[in-house]
């Protein structure tokens, strides 16, 4: 099978941001183990930072579909990360598939799934798979976020590319005179200043 390269949470966030505020996007993020809390929370924080939107996490199997529908629409324009454990049965995936219309919303839906869950999803939820299309991202074993060393390296690359430093970046961001490049968003987020995006 052709391999899919790994993405960072920042890049996934940039892609969602580019699609627009109310793009109704559905994407899948493939992770080694869908139940790992710290990675998931880190991913959520990065996505919230890039998109500057509240980002909520839902465990699909702990909700009735009525609860899920209600909560996903209140509000319906934030980012929703839906986590499915490997144990989500074929029947539940099938019911979830039937519910697709009821949970369609303006804000993006991120399905956070392990390899096993994706197998169950593709077998039992073809309507959801169709909405996802090729928006299929792989997050590395560390959850897709950078180590401190990788962050420092990336910051150096960005400074070299743009020819100005972190302080000037923040100053220009406050003056709103920065080009709207995805790399600029990434840079601000890496500095913990996603509020200036």
């Amino acid at each position: 099978m052709p391999d899919i390269r790994e993405h960072t949470a920042l890049e996934i966030g940039q892609r969602l941001e580019l699609r627009g505020q109310d793009s109704s996007s559905w994407i899948i993020v493939l992770v080694g183990d869908s139940s790992t809390g710290a990675k998931l929370e880190h991913f959520r924080d990065d996505i919230a930072s890039v998109l500057q939107k509240p980002t909520r996490i839902f465990q699909i199997e702990t909700k009735t579909f009525e609860e899920l529908r209600e909560e996903l629409h209140n509000p319906g324009n934030d980012v929703a990360i839906l986590v499915a454990d490997d144990g989500l049965t074929a029947e539940l995936w099938s019911s979830f598939d039937l519910m697709r219309g009821a949970i369609e919303r303006a804000g993006p839906i991120v399905l956070w799934l392990s390899g096993n869950s994706i197998r169950h999803m593709t077998e039992n939820a073809p309507n959801i798979r169709s909405y996802v299309g090729s928006s299929f991202f792989v997050v590395g074993p560390d959850g897709g976020f950078m180590t401190a060393e990788e962050r420092a390296q990336r910051l150096t690359e960005l400074i070299e590319h743009y020819g100005f430093g972190n302080e000037e970046l923040i100053h220009r961001a406050q003056l709103k005179t920065l080009p709207p490049d995805p790399e600029i968003i990434e840079w601000l987020v890496l500095l913990g200043r996603g509020d200036l995006v």
């Binding site: 052709p2 892609r15 039937l98 090729s134 928006s135 080009p179 490049d181 995805p182």
Partner: protein, 422 residues
């Protein structure tokens, strides 16, 4: 150091161009939004919507099904039919996406009628040319419909002797006990138990509403979307059959989606119960037929990609409209993230590979072998359950009754050489 002013201008222009493209190519945007934005090519399926609308208008009580694979454009055809009916016929078309109303997995006999009743009630109550006195007269009917759909609370007598038994609805006078209230579920509030309530309860109130509706608008046509999600023919029939018969008896024409599986295998007797079953096939991509390219052109896609890239996306979409729109959007995303000024062949190749990989995930080695054999022999037995599964999951596409092919993006992924570290 880059010139910050020119960089800002160029960056903003580039971003604005890509964002406009992404908005035009949004595979998950509601179909109604795309229609209103003028992004739809109305003649893609030979103006099928006009035929559906005309039959529904001319033959009151006709039952028509629209069948097609996932993402083939069924909802768009239904909405175009509604628009056509509003513009060309003196009828009241009611579009209902049943999946947004109720949990389809709990859908039972009477649910479609209940949903229809609530929509018709709501439309009549809001109709400006519907006399106020008439609305008052129908108040009780509206209430009956509401109770049938959403249930009601009844006051019941519970005897002290009744430990775990059912409350007594009839007699509260002979034993000691107390009154309590019990919720009787309706047809639409999920999750639903499998109710077998007599459909007669809803028929009379519906007749009254239809009589009222016919005073100000000749006939009512119900357009039901979402029933194609019931992938198995038996489930579809169990939910739809009795309700559809009642619609026919009420002279309400029905246009409804249905799962593609009703055309094949055990499902192939289902069409006999309907007046017409219209198939929406995958579109053919080829040099002589530029229908698919017209989809890209209509949405302004050639502003950001060349004809070769457009043709590549058309080819690998397999003629599945949602896949085509999704591939175009994702190719633009790749181009933007990679710093390209427009979509390149490299971007299209990448998203085709990703789409193919997503179709390939979950396929067993036996299934892959079967797909390769099919591609080689060009033979496909639609009576086999495993092959129907291929059709339902869009791994195999149907171009006509005797022309089936593996999804080209999937085939390309299967045939791609193994990555050394994969």
């Amino acid at each position: 150091m880059v010139d910050s002013v020119s960089s800002l201008t160029a960056g903003a222009a580039r971003r604005s161009k890509f964002r406009a493209f992404m908005q035009a190519f949004n595979p998950t945007a509601p179909a109604q939004v795309a229609i209103e934005a003028g992004l739809i090519c109305e003649d893609l399926h030979r103006s099928l919507y006009q035929n559906l609308g005309a039959r529904a208008d001319l033959e009151a009580g006709s039952l028509q099904l629209l069948v097609g694979g996932i993402g083939s454009g069924k909802t768009t055809e239904l909405l175009l039919a509604v628009k056509w009916l509003r513009e060309h016929a003196d009828v009241l078309p009611l579009y209902i996406d049943i999946t947004t109303e109720t949990d389809l997995s709990g859908l039972n006999v009477g649910s479609l009628l209940a949903s229809f009743g609530t929509h018709l009630s709501s439309r009549l109550q809001k109709a400006p040319n519907f006399a106020r006195e008439r609305k008052v007269e129908l108040k009780e009917t509206f209430q009956k419909i509401r109770e049938f759909a959403f249930g009601r609370v009844e006051r019941v007598w519970v005897s002290y002797d009744q430990d775990e038994g059912e409350p007594d609805f009839e007699d509260e006078s002979t034993e000691e006990g107390y009154f309590t209230f019990q919720k009787l579920p309706g047809k639409l509030k999920p999750p639903l138990p499998a109710l077998r309530r007599d459909l007669g309860q809803i028929v009379e109130p519906l007749k009254k509403l239809l009589e009222a509706a016919r005073v100000y608008s000749k006939d009512v046509i119900v357009v039901l979307d979402g029933l194609d999600r019931l992938l198995v023919p038996e489930k579809f029939l169990a939910v739809a059959f009795q309700d559809f018969r009642v619609f026919r008896s009420l002279k309400v024409s029905v246009l409804s989606t249905a799962p593609i599986s009703i055309l094949y295998g055990v499902g192939n007797s289902v069409p006999e119960y309907f007046d017409r079953v219209q198939h929406v096939p995958a579109l053919v991509a080829g040099p002589k037929d530029d229908l698919l390219r017209s989809v890209i052109q209509k949405r302004g896609g050639l502003n950001l990609m060349g004809v070769e890239e457009a043709d590549s996306l058309c080819k690998f979409s397999g003629g599945v409209l949602r896949d085509l729109i999704s591939l175009a959007r994702d190719a633009a995303e790749e181009a933007y993230i990679s710093g390209h000024q427009s979509i390149t062949a490299e971007d299209t190749a990448k998203v085709v590979q990703q789409l193919g990989a997503s179709y390939m995930r979950g396929l067993s080695p036996e299934s892959i072998k079967a797909l390769l054999a099919m591609e080689k022999s060009k033979e496909f037995d639609v009576s086999k359950p495993a092959n129907i599964e291929f059709l339902v999951t869009r791994r195999v596409l149907e171009y006509s009754t005797n022309n089936f092919r593996p999804h080209p993006a999937l085939l390309s992924a299967i045939l791609a050489p193994e990555e050394p570290n994969a």
